[in-house]
């Protein structure tokens, strides 16, 4: 399936407005029945964290997210797709990532958004470092085995294919 739309992909230091992004995706259109949005924020980890610093690989971040978006658009009948990933210093409570998938039907939108997040976690070249509230230097966040497992389920036999 060839997507009939160009995904909107932004890798940026600036904050984003989730509501405005969803409105941009669905606004003025009457063919979209469902928009599923994932909005990722910086958790303070029970008050221990003051911020996360996100390092990224400029150029590859855009390219890899573009490849992931193309996979999602080939797998599900989507009407639109927005992916925004921030880098730099993000305080606790701040926005990190936004994925919004628009489709005629809800299942496609849910599955595509979940797929995109699983692949962003394991394949998009970003690295988080903790900044601790007590002023001590924090460590690099370790990749979670659960994230690899979450990615792997999309290539398992019987995985949702849209």
């Amino acid at each position: 399936m060839v997507a009939a739309f160009a995904p909107r992909i932004r890798i940026q230091r600036e904050d984003f407005d989730a509501g405005a992004e969803v409105a941009r995706l669905s606004g003025g259109r009457t063919d979209i029945g469902a928009v599923v949005t994932f909005h990722g924020l910086c958790r303070d980890e029970a008050g221990t964290l003051s911020a996360l610093e996100l390092e990224h690989y400029p150029g590859m971040a855009e390219a890899e997210i573009g490849r992931i978006a193309a996979q999602a658009a080939a797998r599900w009948p989507l009407d639109g797709l927005t992916i925004i990933h921030r880098y730099g210093l993000i305080p606790a409570g701040g926005n990190i990532v936004l994925v919004a998938a628009a489709a005629s039907h809800r299942q496609a939108a849910f599955e595509a958004a979940s797929f995109l997040m699983d692949f962003l976690k394991t394949r998009a070249p970003f690295w988080k470092r903790e900044h601790l509230r007590d002023g001590t230097p924090g460590s690099w966040v370790e990749a979670a085995a659960a994230d690899d497992a979450a990615e792997a389920r999309w290539s398992a036999p019987g995985a949702p294919r849209g």
Binding site: L54, G59, E64, V97, K121, T122, P125, E142, A143
Partner: protein, 83 residues
């Protein structure tokens, strides 16, 4: 060949990027990691567990078995933690 390093790989090696000219017997990504480990304590520290290092050639993820012959830019980094 331009090498780029990110996150703790960058910190341990002590630079974000450099130009290298590996000898002809360095054929694969795996060979490149082994060769880099000899270049100093920072490299040895960063690449102590080479199987944990993720590699991109010209901004695409590759396996360690990938040949590097035509690579312009090779990036070394830990498993990603974005999203």
């Amino acid at each position: 060949m331009r090498l780029k390093y990110f996150a703790w790989v960058r910190e341990r090696i002590g630079t974000a990027e450099e130009e290298v000219a590996p000898p002809a017997e360095v054929v694969s990504v795996r060979d490149l990691l082994d060769w880099l480990k000899q270049r100093g304590d920072g490299y040895a520290e960063a690449l102590r567990h080479p199987e944990a290092i993720r590699v991109a050639i010209d901004q695409e993820h590759v396996h360690h078995s990938e040949p590097i012959a035509n690579a312009v830019e090779v990036a070394l980094f830990p498993p990603m933690t974005g999203g």
